[in-house]
Symmetry: C3
Subunit: 318 residues, 3 copies
Amino acid sequence: MSSLRNRDIISIGDLSKDEIQAVLDQAANFEQRLARGESHLVAQLLQDHILATVFYEPSTRTRLSFESAMNRLGGRVISVAEAKTSSSAAKGETIYDSGRMLESYADVIVQRHPATGSARALADAASVPVINAGDGTGEHPTQALLDLYTIQREGAGNGLRALDGLHVVMVGDLKNGRTVHSLSKALTNWKVNFTFVAPPQLAMPDEVVAYLRQRGATVQQATELAPALSSADIAYITRIQQERFSSVEEYMKYKGVYVITAAAVAQAKPGIAIMHPLPRVDEIDTDVDKLPNAAYFRQARNGVFVRMALLTMVLGGD
Amino acid sequence: MSSLRNRDIISIGDLSKDEIQAVLDQAANFEQRLARGESHLVAQLLQDHILATVFYEPSTRTRLSFESAMNRLGGRVISVAEAKTSSSAAKGETIYDSGRMLESYADVIVQRHPATGSARALADAASVPVINAGDGTGEHPTQALLDLYTIQREGAGNGLRALDGLHVVMVGDLKNGRTVHSLSKALTNWKVNFTFVAPPQLAMPDEVVAYLRQRGATVQQATELAPALSSADIAYITRIQQERFSSVEEYMKYKGVYVITAAAVAQAKPGIAIMHPLPRVDEIDTDVDKLPNAAYFRQARNGVFVRMALLTMVLGGD
Amino acid sequence: MSSLRNRDIISIGDLSKDEIQAVLDQAANFEQRLARGESHLVAQLLQDHILATVFYEPSTRTRLSFESAMNRLGGRVISVAEAKTSSSAAKGETIYDSGRMLESYADVIVQRHPATGSARALADAASVPVINAGDGTGEHPTQALLDLYTIQREGAGNGLRALDGLHVVMVGDLKNGRTVHSLSKALTNWKVNFTFVAPPQLAMPDEVVAYLRQRGATVQQATELAPALSSADIAYITRIQQERFSSVEEYMKYKGVYVITAAAVAQAKPGIAIMHPLPRVDEIDTDVDKLPNAAYFRQARNGVFVRMALLTMVLGGD
């Protein structure tokens, strides 16, 4: 297996199954070490290293998660929380020049940018590793990694579980969500069965379904939620946004259909884990929050462990 | 006395007299240690701890004061300086979900939010301690603590002084200022005499005055400043904002009346300490700045010691 | 030579030749130590020190460069990236009051402000060292220092080179650029020959030329670029902004004239170093980027070493 040292992390598709599993194992290792009270030791791993977080779109959750991860490892953070209005970008600086600047200030760069391909452009410029924190409708690989970690982690006691044979249900706007595209593709590294539950106009794109089947996955498509939940190990919920519909009536017809409630969880397969990339609005009723099945806040927490793993591995601190 | 470990600090009214005094004593201890050159030792107290500062309203002074305090203690800071425009809040995330997110990223959370009650809502959600840095017209407990520290610290040599018997004059907009409400209530833990100097339409609310008297305080109310200053140990000045008046004439009538000048200080009780929560505009003439009575910049500095004490105590680092 | 300990760095003109050289030597020392892998040792120099960066105008490059420098030295950073909209400034706080606040929160302050003289005003208020990161059309001394460092560093193997006898060509908008004014004046500490290449309406101001000549420098002025480059050791390029011209035609006439291309470099003196304060737009063609003569990204990197030197020296950590 190739090392991730000095690697750019642009797309989850760039990582082999072994590399993905190595990140998840390292994440599990960090979760265990922090639980054992070894924060002092962990905080020595990236001392004298600087992370630059550069966000052309605000994303509080992703930015804070990376910054928390770097700080837990003893590293330092410099940040441009609103890069769009920063002087250099406003003056017309290119991504290339930005990369040549940032490589002098930091040892690793995390960038969120609205343009697809901008992460690759930055990585081509900068001599230090670049981690893509979302580039338009493109990729958001650390989201896919933390989702995979959560799927392996839920229902697995203290460690990680095998993914082969799991039934993963994805729900909501499957057409526009880069999250569900990346995650489903990454899951074909294992033998996973999918059910995609969406309104017809928001169904998983044909090319994604074709890719998954070609990689050996079993794919079911549905518009009704309850039957899918009855055998699901994982229900991955995404938000349906009103602007995706041509009329308010059309939107209202689907809006309430896929809401996860405590009653729905009670009818679902015992031990089902409810996931959501967050922030949620009302796709998951707050009465689910207290159930052991509510995995979405653990999922957010897992993002810190996964990003600790990735930062350590690309910087060679592991 | 109960420990403050893992406690949320939402309202100064939640703290007993003993707990308040413990915070002030700890603050004095930090001030002395830093003055003795023990910054290196102090910087080991909160290593491996992360503070999240989340400000839905900008407040440079309060945010920097907390962040300075955390850094002096060796801790780390992640920050959302403009949370209102952050992606999660803009997408409609609730305070509850925000709290469940932040508890995964940080060991203690400081929040400023325009809505009264929002600090309590965050504390109810998050498993880590929450410190309220101002919630609308509600509370701002660390301001009250640093004010109390300053009152004990002024005129006390190297330590703190007893508050019993002090004459505290509060001046300006006493109707709308959460600062003077919280501080005056907190001062009833000691035997303090108050004089409230304000235009009639900006007088201290009746319910506050009633509360203070019921707790045993002596309360005078006045519209003239000079007589009150002649016997005051402390003059706590607040700003009169034009928007509080129905006409410009009414505003102009009072605006200049309560300005503290060097001449006014010369007529006041010797040793009087002039306090102000800052920023000031013109309520205190700059010719006061060089007088030993000008306590307001020391007051701002005291905020760092008080917040160091509080962060250490809620995180169990003391 | 006087020490820089506790000194405010407001204008490059405040520093003697010996003081400037001491900063550049210290910067070279840091560059060498980091190249030798001594980052762990360097990171102990300013532990327990806090830098406040306060930017009333956004300047990503300058802010990140200072923050990277402070973190490389083991220090901590608190930051106001958008001070203009901060609560204190919005409420009308003066620079004086801001300085009295910041001196309580930090051990050194870096300020960028649109008003000429604002850095001096802050330094007069604050008891801790203030470093001017640009005040309107006034000064930006660390830019001049990193430019001087780059001129000494280019073509000098591992160390610094003597400046006497060098031919420095400055190109573009020489009328409005505070960078070229400060740098050319600072270069008169050595025996440097200047050629200033600019459209007549953007020529170097007469008073600057007079100052340089009075200090013993040889000054040529020109409107054509190629002849000057044929004997230049340094070409310092600046941007020509459209808003400086009375008509679009006038602007278009000059815009393309002073573009540095790989072909132009091939015709220039061998070993010429191309410098630019960045961000560039199109004054330097991207085909220059891969040439060894392209010094502008190294120049940005040098900013970190120079700021490390300066922070260490004013804080007495050297």
